[in-house]
């Protein structure tokens, strides 16, 4: 974690905070949604982008966080404790989801996470005492460190603080032995074993840390929506998060944040463009199509996502021809950081 990273993370948070203040309640809600999505995307990027473990259970993990924080908050605990509790349970559930990764790899493991998503969705519907079933758990506005968080604007600050912390922690983690082990496991488990890395142990840590961050993001979703409902944590949500990290740039440092902003704000942009052009009805129908099309285009033309695209634009602007590794090749999705190691 360099000083530059710290400065960028804090700078992004400050810009988002200013936007939340300037744009009013609706703007604050959007900023909060982007911040929460970015935290969730950071956790998934750790798992998929850095450790190579494809997970389709992110939506359910966020749900675990939301229900946990909701129950703890409703029981009268401080919001900060509720968020931490959500992180802990998220980590435990994530580790459980990750257990099959000890034996399974690639597509087979991905299918196992798909099953985990389905099981958790089912549990959300039937564990009435904890989840209030299909009606969903109504969550009281929390107090964080004794400060009541009753408005959309008030929730922005905790989300941004957690975003900065999660972003820098992930950044720092990648400079540790464990972080480097993640990258080796991603590239080749056989090589990792050859290097003396305990592959199972490494994967488990990725699930624990990723789950902790996802749990906290889920808690923030619960506090923002004031409801944890099974309908909110479906496979669709998992797909959205996978889209975020692909579009932003799989295994890149700023990718999750850029991808989260893109995925959260794209529908809004399409809606506003449609309204301005008087064709919002048509664009509504095309929105999902546009979303899917964008992902396909990214996979074909810029698999390293918006992060790489922005880097190339920046290099072109200063007159530097991007090296082969930074040109869109359609092959691989290794990050520039991964290569530099």
């Amino acid at each position: 974690m360099s000083t530059r990273h710290i400065a960028i993370a804090i700078g992004v948070a400050v810009v988002m905070a200013v936007l939340a203040v300037v744009l009013g309640r609706y703007g604050a809600y959007l900023v909060n949604a982007v911040a929460i999505a970015a935290i969730g995307a950071l956790s998934l990027n750790l798992l998929i982008g850095y450790c190579g473990q494809i997970s389709f259970a992110q939506g359910a993990l966020l749900g675990v966080g939301a229900y946990t924080a909701g129950n703890l908050g409703n029981a009268g605990l401080d919001g900060a404790v509720a968020i931490l509790g959500a992180g802990v349970l998220g980590a435990l559930v994530s580790a459980l989801i990750g257990l099959p990764a000890m034996r399974l790899r690639g597509l087979y493991f991905a299918i196992a996470t798909l099953a985990a998503q389905a099981i958790l969705e089912y549990l959300f519907k039937i564990l009435d005492p904890l989840t209030n079933g299909v009606s969903g758990l109504v969550i009281k506005p929390p107090s964080i460190f004794g400060i009541p968080m009753t408005s959309d604007e008030s929730l922005v600050l905790p989300s941004l603080v957690l975003l900065v912390i999660a972003w820098l922690v992930v950044s720092r983690l990648l400079r540790t032995d464990l972080g480097r082990a993640f990258l080796v496991v991603r590239e080749s488990e056989i090589v990792a074993k050859g290097m003396g890395i305990d592959v199972g142990h490494t994967k488990l840590w990725a699930f624990l840390i990723g789950g902790f961050i996802a749990g906290m993001a889920g808690a923030l979703i619960g506090f923002a929506n004031r409801l944890a409902s099974p309908e909110a944590f479906t496979l669709d949500l998992s797909a959205d998060y996978i889209a975020m990290i692909i579009i932003g740039g799989l295994g890149t440092w700023p990718g999750p944040i850029i991808g989260a902003a893109f995925v959260v704000l794209l529908p809004e942009v399409i809606q506003r463009v449609g309204e301005a052009a008087g064709i919002s009805d048509i664009l509504s129908a095309l929105r999902e199509l546009a979303f899917g099309l964008l992902i396909i285009l990214f996979l074909i033309f810029e698999p390293r996502g918006l992060t790489a695209l922005l880097s190339r634009i920046k290099l072109r602007r200063i007159g530097v021809v991007p090296p082969a590794g930074l040109r869109a090749t359609g092959e691989g999705s290794q990050s520039p950081e991964g290569r530099s190691r």
């Binding site: 949604a33 299909v134 309908e231 529908p267 809606q271 919002s280």
Partner: protein, 389 residues
């Protein structure tokens, strides 16, 4: 000549600038333009079009132009919660019309805090409480009341065994639980032989139909919408269950069902709370007048529901404006509060025959409905309006 034209244009501009700007009334609607419930989204268009009709024919409501913004909630909770905030905050809507059961349940406390009159397309009884949720209104009998109407009809005809099918979400399970716990089924002398749940987006319900067949019910009540009813009736026909066995709630009354299923839909019954599109009623003349100048997106019963909601909402807004001396209150909070009070005060409101006269003291408008049956590919009422209370 050119100079005269230029001078005239300048004068016109100056006059336009000098004249006080007419206040605009914002009404925000979110439906499911896309999403699993898109088949029954006519009410969103109906409401928008009625308000536009007022703009065309009366210059808006009490002289104020209405800006009706229609947004797509996609039946996704996060999207709907986001849209609500845009409507309440950015658009400064005096009335918000929202879609799903899940969203209105999530927003019920927020709606109270914001003090926004909210007309929901859901019929969930959990949000119908004029004291606890004074800003939430709906336009018809609750899902539980609809079920009661169907069960009364079964009991009156000597039926005994009833089975309920519902999706495993709040829209399905919520009302079914309320009815089961209320004891109404037993009071009517009926026996609930089974409750079968299915995924809201299920494509094949053949196994569930085999289970229905094994229970041999006298009536199967469908607490779901048209897309699910189509799957149910299609798969029921596969296992030899006739459509006349099934009764659906008021979101299963769409021409799409007989169009798609043909003979397999004959005899299917549904709760009808509104006159259908094309009925010989005064409201239809207004709609035809509107349709002569604009495109009607959905020519179905749900469009009629939306048109009726427009009549009720605009009447409340008009009364609020009149009460304020003929112009909308400048303070949006005061305006919303006044509209809420006027909405609640609507008594015997004539909606052009779409429903019996509306009374919103109970926040429902009308609690009357009847049962319609598909005969020769069309829904035909089987009796008179029944009061669900």
């Amino acid at each position: 000549m050119k100079k005269i034209k230029s001078a005239a244009a300048l004068v016109a501009l100056a006059l336009a600038a000098a004249s006080p700007a007419k206040a605009q009334v914002n009404v925000c609607i979110w439906g499911t333009i896309t999403g699993p419930d898109a088949l029954v989204n006519g009410m969103s268009y109906g409401l928008r079009d009625y308000l536009e009709f007022l703009n065309q024919t009366q210059g808006g409501i009490a002289g104020s132009k209405v800006n009706a913004l229609l947004l797509d909630g996609r039946y996704k909770l996060d999207e709907e919660l986001k849209i609500y905030r845009r409507c309440a905050d950015e658009e400064k809507a005096v009335v918000v019309n929202g879609w799903s059961t899940g969203s209105v349940q999530a927003l019920r406390d927020q709606i109270n805090t914001d003090g926004v009159p909210f007309m929901t397309q859901s019929f969930a009884s959990e949000v119908l409480d004029p004291k606890k949720y004074p800003y939430i209104f709906m336009a018809g009998p609750t899902y539980e009341q609809q079920m009661t109407i169907a069960f009364r009809d079964l009991a009156a005809k000597g039926g005994k065994k009833v089975l309920i099918m519902a999706p495993d979400n709040e829209y399905g399970r919520g009302p079914v639980n309320v009815v089961r716990q209320s004891g109404i089924i037993q009071k009517l002398g009926l026996d609930l032989v089974d409750t079968i749940e299915f995924r809201y987006d299920a494509q094949d319900l053949t196994p569930q139909m085999l289970r229905v067949k094994s229970r041999n019910p006298d009536m199967v009540y469908i607490q779901a919408s048209a897309p699910q009813a189509i799957a149910i009736l299609r798969d029921a026909a596969k296992v030899g269950l006739p459509a006349k066995l099934f009764v659906g709630n008021l979101y299963t009354i769409t021409p799409t069902i007989p169009e798609q299923l043909g003979a397999a839909a004959e005899g299917f019954r549904a709760i009808q709370a509104y006159e259908p599109y094309g009925a010989e009623i005064p409201a239809m003349k207004q709609i035809e007048q509107f349709a002569a100048k604009a495109t009607v997106e959905k020519k179905d019963i749900y469009f009629m529901k939306g048109w009726m909601e427009g009549i009720a909402i605009s009447a409340a807004i008009e009364n609020a404006i009149k009460k304020n001396g003929g112009h909308p209150p400048s303070d949006i909070k005061q305006f919303r509060q006044s509209v809420r009070e006027q909405m609640e005060a609507l008594t015997n409101l004539d909606d052009g025959g779409i429903t019996p006269p509306l009374n919103f003291a109970n926040h429902q408008g009308s609690i009357q409905a009847r049962i319609a049956e598909i005969k020769d590919g069309k829904y035909v009422p089987t009796g008179e309006w029944i009061n669900a209370s």
